[in-house]
């Protein structure tokens, strides 16, 4: 029994069973037509007290996400047997992954907003525990704490959004609450609150800095949680809730602005990183913003398609990054290079991943990014809730981002896999348990393309842009550039993290110290003052009590005078 419990494969099997069940449940829904089209439920307007009811509902996009989550989850479990299997805390690690998957399925599959919230926050907790898996190191502790704090504060937006939905629609069930034809009430409030929640969870500007800082977590976890699933769940939530706020220009414009800022910022930061993992993290931030742009352009399907494709190729890239780290012992770009020969599987699969990231035909990344760009272009006509001008700006930013994305993908590809191997490096291919998942994901990167829509106008433009980006970097590489640009502001990530890493904690600490001092020296004055007054009174009375009869007589006489005066004055 003990040996079974100790076996790594127990957890893989557990995950596999979970994946199988989820697949049996989800696969039939893939072909069902329909998007958020349910009848409103005219039950009264006093929302019931919260319960966690196990009502489930899937539509094609959410079925895809469930399959993505359990698929990547299963691959990550297999991968981890080799990557972390020797670790003394492997068991708790593997169990938390299973818990995470359950929570993710709950978020995607439920129609009960409370179940959604529970899953949402349990995912955050799992993320916190897994980032801090190597809690001996200060970086992991700090990253975990930051991730948990930022996401949880943002989650308060979701809590409030649910309360507003309950009060507006009289139910906490998504099916009952869907406004089909009727007017969506409190749309702006719900939209903005949901936006707060997803900005935190998906690491969008201005709450973006926790995701790169979460990179001290184990790499398979980064692949699963911080690339493929949890951070992407923010996009899912924004899409799922879209009917509540689709009419709200304010909410959609805010989302568009945030998406625009984040996608370009993330891509630029990714361009200058010297660490592969951190670069990929910024890339994730940028890609998530692209998905939000699609949601803001009222085409959630495009966003969710890109979510799935991105989940596959980004998981591939992170797992590949894990193989490289396995080989060289660090994720610094300077320690890598010349991997084609020693690590062929990793090399080829990661090349496919970078191609998908850059958006090259026929990878899934090309098709889904194409859909997103098409959605943005359609929105420029201005017949949706988003104003035409805003959509135009967003479209242009997205195109620039495509250029930068292609550039940094090429740069990373060149610096990690090609180029001269650093001296003394004795890289060797990772074991099968690690390369196997890479191959599966590489195949999936193409497989997901099947059946994706293709818009040839946009397709041509984006291919040209991607080619320009790639060409530019290749040209510089040929000319002997090291590709290490680091303009100071970009290298410092524009100092955007300073409020979170310095100002807020310091301010809170100062205020807290002041509160403790006040608690002791100001609030506690009345009991202590009272006690002191009583003690003083006792001493004073002891002075009167001198056994001196004349003094007693004086007190008596004075007392009589006072009483007479009181009596006369009051009457």
């Amino acid at each position: 029994m003990r040996s079974v419990l100790r076996s790594h494969w127990l957890y893989v099997a557990l995950t596999a069973v979970l994946a199988l069940v989820a697949a049996i449940w989800a696969v039939p829904h893939l072909s069902e037509p329909g998007w958020f089209a349910y009848a409103p439920d005219p039950t009264g307007f006093t929302p019931p007290l919260p319960t966690l009811s196990p009502d489930l509902f899937l539509f094609p996009a959410s079925a895809q996400i469930v399959l993505l989550a359990v698929g990547v989850g299963l691959l990550v479990q297999i991968y981890s047997t080799a990557y972390l299997g020797h670790h003394q805390r492997y068991r708790s690690y593997a169990m938390v992954i299973v818990l995470f998957l359950v929570a993710m399925i709950a978020v995607v599959g439920t129609t009960n907003l409370w179940v959604l919230l529970v899953g949402w926050e349990v995912m955050g907790l799992c993320s916190y525990l897994l980032i801090g898996h190597e809690w001996e190191t200060g970086e992991a502790r700090a990253g975990a704490a930051k991730a948990f704090l930022v996401t949880r504060i943002a989650d308060l937006g979701l809590v409030l959004a649910i309360l507003v939905i309950g009060e507006t629609y009289g139910t906490y069930d998504l099916l009952g609450a869907q406004p089909l034809d009727g007017e969506a009430k409190n749309a702006t409030a719900i939209g903005l609150l949901v936006l707060v929640a997803v900005v935190g969870k998906s690491a969008q500007f201005p709450l973006h800095s926790w995701l790169p800082d979460a990179m001290p977590g184990p790499t398979p976890i980064t692949a699963l949680i911080h690339a493929a699933t949890m951070v992407a769940a923010g996009v899912y939530l924004a899409a799922r809730m879209l009917p509540f706020y689709a009419d709200s220009t304010v909410a959609l414009t805010a989302m568009a602005v945030i998406a625009g800022i984040t996608m370009l910022m993330g891509a630029l930061f990714a361009l200058v990183q010297t660490d592969l993992k951190r670069a990929l993290a910024w890339s994730t931030v940028s890609q998530l913003a692209l998905m939000f742009a699609a949601v803001a352009a009222s085409d959630p399907e495009a966003g969710l398609d890109h979510l799935v494709a991105h989940g596959v190729f980004k998981a591939l890239l992170f797992l590949g990054c894990g193989c490289l780290m396995h080989a060289v012992g660090t994720s610094a770009l300077s320690a890598m290079g010349g991997m084609r020969r020693p690590m062929p599987v990793t090399f080829w699969t990661m090349t496919i991943g970078f191609a998908a990231l850059a958006g090259i035909v026929p990878t899934a990344g090309f098709f889904t990014k194409d859909s997103v760009l098409h959605a943005l272009e359609s929105a420029t006509e201005g017949d949706g809730a988003l104003a035409g001008g805003t959509a135009w700006a967003l479209f242009v930013v997205a195109l620039i981002t495509s250029l930068v994305t292609a550039a940094y993908a090429t740069r990373l590809w060149l610096k990690t896999l090609l180029g001269p191997a650093p001296g003394g490096l004795d890289a060797h291919e990772a074991p099968l348990a690690m390369t196997g998942p890479l191959v599966v994901l590489a195949v999936a990167t193409f497989a997901v393309s099947i059946g994706q829509p293709f818009h040839h106008g946009i397709g041509v433009v984006s291919t040209v842009i991607a080619a320009a980006g790639i060409g530019l970097v290749l040209l510089m590489w040929r000319r002997g550039s090291s590709l290490d640009w680091a303009p100071a502001p970009l290298a410092a990530e524009l100092g955007l993290d300073r409020p979170f890493s310095r100002w807020v904690p310091r301010l809170t600490g100062d205020v807290a110290s002041a509160v403790v001092d006040l608690d002791r020296d100001a609030v506690d004055v009345y009991p202590r003052g009272g006690a002191a007054a009583a003690a003083l009174g006792t001493r004073g009375l002891a002075l009167v009590q001198s056994r001196n009869v004349q003094r007693y007589a004086t007190v008596l006489a004075a007392g009589v005078v006072v009483l007479v005066v009181v009596g006369v004055v009051v009457s």
Binding site: A534, L541, A558, G559, V564, V568, S571
Partner: protein
């Protein structure tokens, strides 16, 4: 001037006085100085007076106070057996003075004109002063008696000033006539106020209200424990009864003059008493200050004298207070006899080392504090706050509440010391006189009564007026 004699009032007092004389005579003819010789006739007289009281019109208001005076004195007499064979204490004189004072108390409660009141006040005061200084060769006792005497004279003088003013205003000292006289609108309010305030000074002095409390800590600390017990209960009961009767029967028309005074005096009294008790290191000193604070609680409902509860609440509170206080003083008298000191340190661990005395003390402390499991203390606190609130003196009720908290500070100290682990073996007199057992049984009986009343507070609340 003829003074009408109401035998329902005078009867018990006469019996008590007769008992006092018999006790003195028995002691004179059998001068063996044993406590029983004179104690027995005293006991019989008190019981007989009780019977006479019951035979009379038991429903009247002074009945309750008279009953408390008699029962309290009886308890003091029984518990005083603890002083048996103390050579310095002459039993005959002791019982004579005690019963004389009790008779004075009975007359005070029953007085229906101010002359009787003043005479009865003196009948209570003079034997009390003698009692305080009775212990032969005890300089502290004599000094205490001297203090008590001087303070008493001053306050009586002030009272007589007030009385003469009242006579000047109303032309009579009979309560009923005073009432009508003071209602005359031609009388200036200011003069009435001065007269009334001065008159009640003597009673406030006996009650131990601030600022007429200064004699109490010295006197209680300087005299025999049971005399202090007598002063803190019987004497207070008589003063309270007389005061309430005076205010409700004779002076209701001067209500506006004395009500604020009484309210303020009550508030200040309970606060000063509690503050004074906080740092006492001797149990007697602690109880002395506590009895000042309790006087405030006794006085407070007088602001609501117009309501029916304004009169019954103090009686019920007094009964609970007197019982607990007597139990405490009697237990301390036993402790003093056996251990030679009533210092708080002396009491440490007594609830464990000597549970038969320690636990009654704990119970008495909790009753005085008004804290469960001594429910009777809490219920009487409730009773005494009720009329105060009812007459819209919420401020006074809040002051009372705050004082419940203040009081707990030192009662808790007493209780904790009693329950603590004993510091080694305390000195206990190797051969306690047999008569100590009589005092002990009085303590246990009193404690038993507290337990019964805590379980059925109804017994007290329905049977007193």
């Amino acid at each position: 001037m003829t003074i009408p004699i109401d035998w329902t009032v005078a009867g018990p007092a006469t019996i008590v006085l007769a008992g006092a004389l018999v006790a003195l005579l028995v002691d004179a003819f059998y001068p063996r100085r044993t406590w029983l010789g004179s104690g027995l006739p005293a006991t019989v007289a008190l019981v007989a007076a009780g019977g006479e009281l019951l035979r009379g019109d038991a429903g009247t208001y002074p009945f309750a106070f008279s009953a408390i005076v008699l029962a309290g004195t009886l308890f003091v007499v029984v518990a005083s057996n603890v002083m048996n064979f103390e050579n310095a204490m002459p039993p005959g004189e002791y019982h004579f003075l005690l019963l004389s004072a009790a008779a004075g108390g009975l007359l005070m409660v029953g007085a229906r004109d101010i002359v009787t009141l003043v005479v009865a006040l003196e009948l209570l005061s003079l034997p009390s002063i003698a009692l305080v200084g009775l212990r032969q060769g005890d300089r502290v006792a004599i000094r205490s008696a001297w203090t008590f005497f001087l303070a008493s004279v001053v306050s009586t003088a002030i009272t007589l000033m007030g009385v003469s003013l009242l006579y000047g205003i109303a032309g009579s000292l009979d309560y009923a006539k005073l009432r009508d006289g003071l209602a005359d609108p031609r009388v200036p309010d200011g003069v009435v106020a001065v007269a009334v305030v001065l008159t009640v000074v003597g009673l406030l002095f006996k009650l131990g209200a601030v600022p007429f409390h200064v004699w109490i800590p010295d006197t209680y600390g300087g005299t025999s424990v049971m005399v202090a017990g007598f002063l803190s209960t019987v004497s207070k009961a008589a003063a309270l009864g007389a005061l309430l009767t005076l205010l409700s029967v004779a002076l209701p028309s001067a209500h506006d003059a004395w009500q604020p005074v009484v309210g303020i005096v009550a508030a200040v009294t309970m606060t000063i008493g509690n503050v004074g008790a906080l740092r006492q290191d001797d149990a007697i000193g602690l109880l002395a200050w506590s009895s000042i604070a309790q006087a405030g609680f006794l006085l407070a409902p007088a602001v609501a004298i117009g309501t029916s509860e304004g009169l019954t609440a103090p009686v019920q509170y007094l009964a609970g207070y007197a019982l607990a206080n007597l139990v405490a003083f009697a237990a301390l008298a036993v402790v003093l006899r056996l251990r030679g000191s009533t210092g708080l340190e002396e009491l440490r661990g007594m609830a464990r080392s000597d549970p038969w005395m320690g636990i009654p003390l704990v119970l008495a402390g909790l009753t005085l504090a008004g804290f469960p499991p001594a429910v009777i203390g809490l219920v009487t606190k409730y009773v005494v706050i009720r009329p105060v609130v009812d007459s819209d003196h919420v401020w006074l009720a809040v002051v009372m509440g705050v004082n419940v908290m203040l009081g707990l500070a030192y009662y808790l100290r007493l209780v904790v010391i009693l329950c603590d682990r004993p510091d080694g073996d305390p000195y206990v007199s190797p051969s306690p006189p047999v008569s100590v057992r009589i005092a002990k049984s009085a303590v246990l009986l009193g404690a038993g009564a507290l337990v019964v009343l805590s379980a059925w507070p109804d017994l007290l609340l329905t049977h007193l007026p």
